[in-house]
Amino acid sequence: MFRFLLTRLLATIPVLFVVAVAVFLILRLTPGDPAAVIAGDSATTEQIEQIRASLGLDQSIPAQFAIWAGNALRGNLGESFFFKKQVSELIGQCIEPTLALAVCTIVLAVAVAVPLGVLAAWHHGSWLDRVLMGFSTLGFSIPVFVLGYLLIWLVSMKLGWLPVQGYRRLAEGFGPFIRHLILPSITLSIVYIAVIARITRAAVSEALTEDYVRTARAKGLPERVVVLRHALRNAAVPIVTIIGIGIAVLIGGVVITESVYSIPGLGRLTVAAVLARDFPTIQAVILLFSVAYVLINLLIDVSYLFLDPRIRY
């Protein structure tokens, strides 16, 4: 068991390394002078020289990488010339909305998708199954921003039930906090639900064809028990896996959702940074998201220990 944990932990190191290298290279591969790019269009020659020195651009690439990585590990993600702030400060300001949105979405998505998938698998081949899977296909076909605008138009503009856009911090009260998060969470979760429901259905359907399900039925167990206690338990590993992999989808969607709903989170920060070609920020945000993805998937791997005894022993 510990061997499993240790292997998984150690396996993340090369992955994180690759991520760091990739992120590092994004800036270095820009045509033109990286220092000038970072400084922005309105920088003076001295500022550019300053940046060049602080980044060590006169040194070899590996040395530069070492400097950059060393800084990053210490929490110094550089300075944004566009926003005139430390990048870490920027991120600190923007992280709450994104986190709130992400958590709401994940909870909503899993709570809706898994039961739907189980239902579809239980009634495999019936009209219910086809309808649910049809919705699933629809779900990841509609672009997030189209869905967003549709919902805004319908719910906020026509029906007036929920605020159109914007975000209220938790500190300002739980009610408004939630009210502003409902539409964005629903919008973002639709794609996630579509993916999870689909895999749940596939995994549970597959489990239902296995021999131990036949044994369970031969024992005279009611179908509900067979599906939930036997099939679903075995389908847990692929379902949990897809939740982990789906985080990447989620992060992509966060960027767009925040843009549609004017939520001042990391997604919107990224877009603004890209439009301004503010590389330190772009790098930092990508690094942050990637590390989050790796860590979440590590947690998922750990959860396998509890879900599958074959891994434990």
């Binding site: 061997r3 240790l6 292997t7 296995e210 021999d211 131990y212 036949r214 044994t215 369970a216 039925r217 031969a218 024992k219 005279g220 167990l221 009611p222 028990v225 036997h230 338990r233 075995n234 847990a236 879900l307 599958d308 005894p309 074959r310 022993y313």
Partner: protein
Amino acid sequence: MTLSIERLTVRLPVGGDRENAIADVSLDVPAGEIQCLVGESGSGKSVIAQSVMGLLPRTLRATAGQIRLAGEDLLQVASERLRRLRGEKMAMIFQEPMTALNPVMSCGTQVDELLRQHTTLGATARKSRVLQMFEHVRLPDPARIYAAYPHQLSGGQRQRIMIAMALILKPALLIADEPTTALDVTTQAEILRLIRELQRESGTAVLFITHDFGVVAEIADRVSVLKLGELVESGPAREVLRSPRHPYTQMLLAAVPTLQPRKTPIEGSRPVQLRTRGLSKVFHGGGWLGKRRDVKAADNVQIEVKRGETLGIVGESGSGKSTVARMVARLIDPTAGEVELDGRSLTGAKGGGEREMRRRVQVVFQDPYRSLNPRRTVGAAIAEGPLNFGASREQAWRRASELMSLVRLSPGALKRYPHEFSGGQRQRVCIARALALDPELLIADEAVSALDVSVQAEILQLLEDIQQRLHLTLLFITHDLRVAAQICNRIVVMQHGRVVEEGPVAQVFQAPREAYTRALIEAAPGKGFRFAAAQTQA
């Protein structure tokens, strides 16, 4: 009468190979009796079992007949009642113990589930009953097994748990669908013994499905024979096995190889063609972290095969016989030791020399369904070898034609795909493919194990014919002693990677020296039985 099936007909969906899976089948199983249901694959025997339990897949429907369990017609009863009867009044055990148990639940919990569903016993009472049952089926250390997970146990242990699960509520009927087919022969003997004992104790009626006549001889009171969904013969086991009346039953019984060795060793003057010396293979398991689990699949194996001889390598699963075969065929590299063909080292050959050697040793594999690429025609499969070695397309296809005739298939079928052939026919194609390069040594790795008994007899016959015609040397790997007795001159017995015994087949069978060999031969089901055909054989 515990189980009474009357004129049962189950329809197949449109597009199946016949209209009904089973048609007009009637059989009775009284309490206290073991009735065997025998048939080849596709005969519909599992369908009968599923019909009784009410576990037919949605595509199959019972369209006529009755199934009475202690008077109740199971086909008419409400599904809720049927569900209650399962486990309480009728139980079933299946073929693959490995997959029949839920891998993420402990064994004890799975048996306990049954009690929770059908009884009102409290948790402690249930647990003690489960433990009691585990003892009853002779599981060592019941408490540990209760908490263990299926993957931590052996095949035999898992099957015992299945039996425990089936019999814990003392059902009137037990249906066993090929429960020992996937087990080693020694384990099989134990499980058969267990079933017989338990059955005698509790007076359960047992419907035992199998394709193995040896098993039938071992435990059946009555036998019913199924052919393509129809019951062709039924009667007391002794009678049917000794003097079958229906031609199909007669044909099947004639095809069962006896345990009487047929061949004598060939003349000692023949040169040695294949020789292995100190052949060993170690598989490294476990990661770089934690302990390494090294598995000695083959340990210092020494065998000799004379030109023109048929040597059988016999053993149970894990004995290393397949590993040895693969090393001889150069499909895996040995960790130590040598293989020599006609005095030239196979293991040492590299590059061009290795390719040359390849031609001379060819293999027929076990699984006729997966050893042919489903996307390529049969002709392409046979011609592949010659093409690899520089033959032109014409030459290769001409050779393929010749070989198809040799294995008694029509050369016109070269353009067909594997799924258009039956299992036995596919195996013929595989033999043709193996002969395409004109080998001197042919290795048959469990080549007939996946075939029905009648098809098996044909293929064995074919192999012998070909061997004589082409002067081949045959290395025959099998776990089935009957097959070995049929076709081999000499036998090597392997266990845990080591050669345990070897000698002329008659000697090993009639006067085994080692305890393990004795145990193997003892365990062969229906050992003492002389089947119908045996009386007409020389």
